[in-house]
Amino acid sequence: MSDPLLQVKGLGVRFPVRRRRFGAPPQWLTALDDVHLEIEAGRSLGVVGESGCGKSTLARAILALVEPHAGEIRWRGAAVRRSDPAGLRRMRRELQVVFQDPFGSLDPRMSIGESVAEALDALEGLTESAAVRSRVAAVLEEVGLDPSLARRYPHELSGGQCQRAAIARATVVRPRLLICDEAVSALDVSVQAQIVNLLSALSVRHGMALMFISHNLAVVRHLCDEVLVLYLGHVVERGPRESVFSAPRHPYTRALLAAVPEPDPASAPAAEPIVVLPGRSGAAPPARGCVFQARCPRVDALCASQSPSLAEAGPAHVTACHHWQTLEAWPAGSR
């Protein structure tokens, strides 16, 4: 078995926050703590959690846009370091990203064709105009855009078309892994379905792996082979799609799933339908014990004193809960 495409080992990222007084030691906000994950070639991993859970920081750390203070990231077996520009350049040819706002990721003064061509120039050194033109036209067609749109500017396109252009720009260099950070969140439902189908088709056709960061659990269930649930920078559950969605082993995952309103009035109980998770995902994890203790229905003295480590709850399925074996049956109630 060769090395996985991407390995994240014990990753920790923290940011300095306001000092209480000048000269005082900085205080730290822990954005990610001891995160482990792997993505194999051609596989898709969904990363879910509430805002502030560290989803985007994880993507930024993998892209070497923020400096981790602990752990390491290995790309095809080799450590990724911000101090190694040549290594980063090699990795970035193979690792591309699509963000939520397509208008923000395309230069408003460059035509769509120029934006895509720029990626070819920067990452492959391809500048010969006929070759560039044919590659640009081919990738635009592949993402479902008429090649004549190469001459248009971002403001002339709709949100869905712009997101297709951003995907074209990211995939023109045939990356091995595409990180999608809320890439379909700003789109209307009908367009969202188009883009999800496009990502899925590209992934299958080129064996491209996906890391799909989203707060939309239904889309993740549809698109991803594996799911990772983050809470306040900690992995609380990770496992194969079916196993996590049909038998979640962490109270937080359960609360997240239960909070998603299903588009089916027959399944929505009229009176007091949903399990409402109290409180919110705060900025600071507790000093001791389980990160989820403040909102957990199953909290006890053990949770307050000791942080649970990831335990094997099924094949390739791990959960960080002291009580995972005694959680009530799922689906709970009517779900």
């Binding site: 009908s190 188009q194 239904a218 588009p263 009035p265 929505a268």
Partner: protein
């Protein structure tokens, strides 16, 4: 529905004059909202769902022009004087918007802002205003309501702010609440909290118009649903009937495009090919015809009118009598 509707909109159109010509944001929309009912208005960006209700309340941007009629308890709102509108807006019809930060004044305490709603209208004494502010915050499920009154908007999270915005909207005990994407910016867990607050308000008899693009939210709270496409209402139906058997091909396609959490859906999502017409684009015939799987020759010539049929109304030349989707 025996009583007269609370809000009755007839043939309401909204035009905007832009440098690129006239844009018809809403075209001949007609709908009723009954006392105590929740009508969800669903559509994609640019479908006109927000403009329709902004127009009813006289809140259009300066370039906007409205035609038609919107009666609230029999009183015509379109073209009404500012004084007449102000007697209704925020008092008998309250609003909640997507971004609660815009609804709250950053430099005033929560207590001051909530109290002002009543004090400015002469509806309560300062003591009563304080008590009702406190009760309103407790009503939306905020813990420590007393200390929240002293806090400022920036000290609250997004979900807490939205609950304050709902509490503020309900201060005057309005008859109708218009909520425009009230949970769109929130996490699902926080969305569930806000929806619970809205559901409770409904149980107390409040009528509600919920403008949203999230069909999951619609399913959990609405009595009836109006679906809008390119400025027109294409279908209005009771929520269960619509989800079980949408009559308009756009409504059907929209329902199919939503991935479901409860189904292990693999393979392709049913998507709607193409794009909605851009605002200002002149569309001959039905606006959905270029994307419609059921399109017939007449659809490209003539825009279908919204025709009532039993419990629903549909604007389609070829409505689906028996949809192929399982119910």
């Amino acid at each position: 529905m025996t009583a007269a509707p609370l809000l009755s909109i007839r043939d309401l159109s909204v035009d905007f004059v832009t440098p690129r010509g006239r844009v018809q944001a809403v075209r001949e929309a007609s709908l009723d909202v009954a006392s105590g009912e929740c009508l969800a208005v669903v559509g994609e960006s640019g479908s006109g769902k927000s403009q329709l209700f902004l127009a009813c309340l006289g809140l259009l941007a300066a370039r906007g022009a409205t035609r038609g009629s919107a009666r609230f308890q029999g009183q015509e709102l379109l073209g009404a004087s500012a004084a007449a509108l102000n007697a209704v807006r925020g008092t008998r019809i309250a609003m909640v918007f997507q971004d609660p930060m815009n609804a709250l004044t950053p430099h005033l305490s929560i207590g001051r802002q909530l109290g002002e709603v009543l004090l400015d209208r002469g509806l309560a004494s300062p003591q009563e205003a304080h008590e009702r502010s406190l009760a309103a915050l407790q009503g939306v499920g905020l813990a420590d309501a007393e200390s929240r009154l002293q806090q400022y908007p920036h000290e609250l999270s997004g979900g807490q702010r939205q609950r304050v915005a709902v509490a503020m909207a309900l201060m005057t005990r309005p008859e109708l609440l218009i909520a425009d994407e009230p949970t769109t910016a929130l996490d699902v867990t926080v969305q569930a909290q806000v929806l619970q607050v809205l559901r409770r308000a409904r149980r107390d008899g409040l009528a509600m118009v919920l403008i949203t693009h999230d069909l999951g939210v619609v399913a959990g709270i609405a009595d009836r649903v109006a679906i809008m496409y390119a400025g027109r209402i294409v279908e209005i139906a009771p929520v269960r009937e619509l989800f079980a058997a949408p009559a308009h091909p756009y409504a059907a396609a929209l329902l199919e495009a939503v991935p479901r959490l409860s189904e292990a859906s693999v393979g392709r999502l049913r998507s709607i090919e193409g794009q909605p017409p851009t605002p200002g684009e002149i569309v001959q015939g039905c606006a959905f015809a270029p994307r419609c799987p059921d399109v017939a020759a007449i659809c490209r010539r003539e825009a279908p009118a919204l025709r009532p049929a039993a419990t629903r109304a549909v604007a389609c030349h070829v409505p689906r009598i028996r949809p192929d989707r399982e119910s």
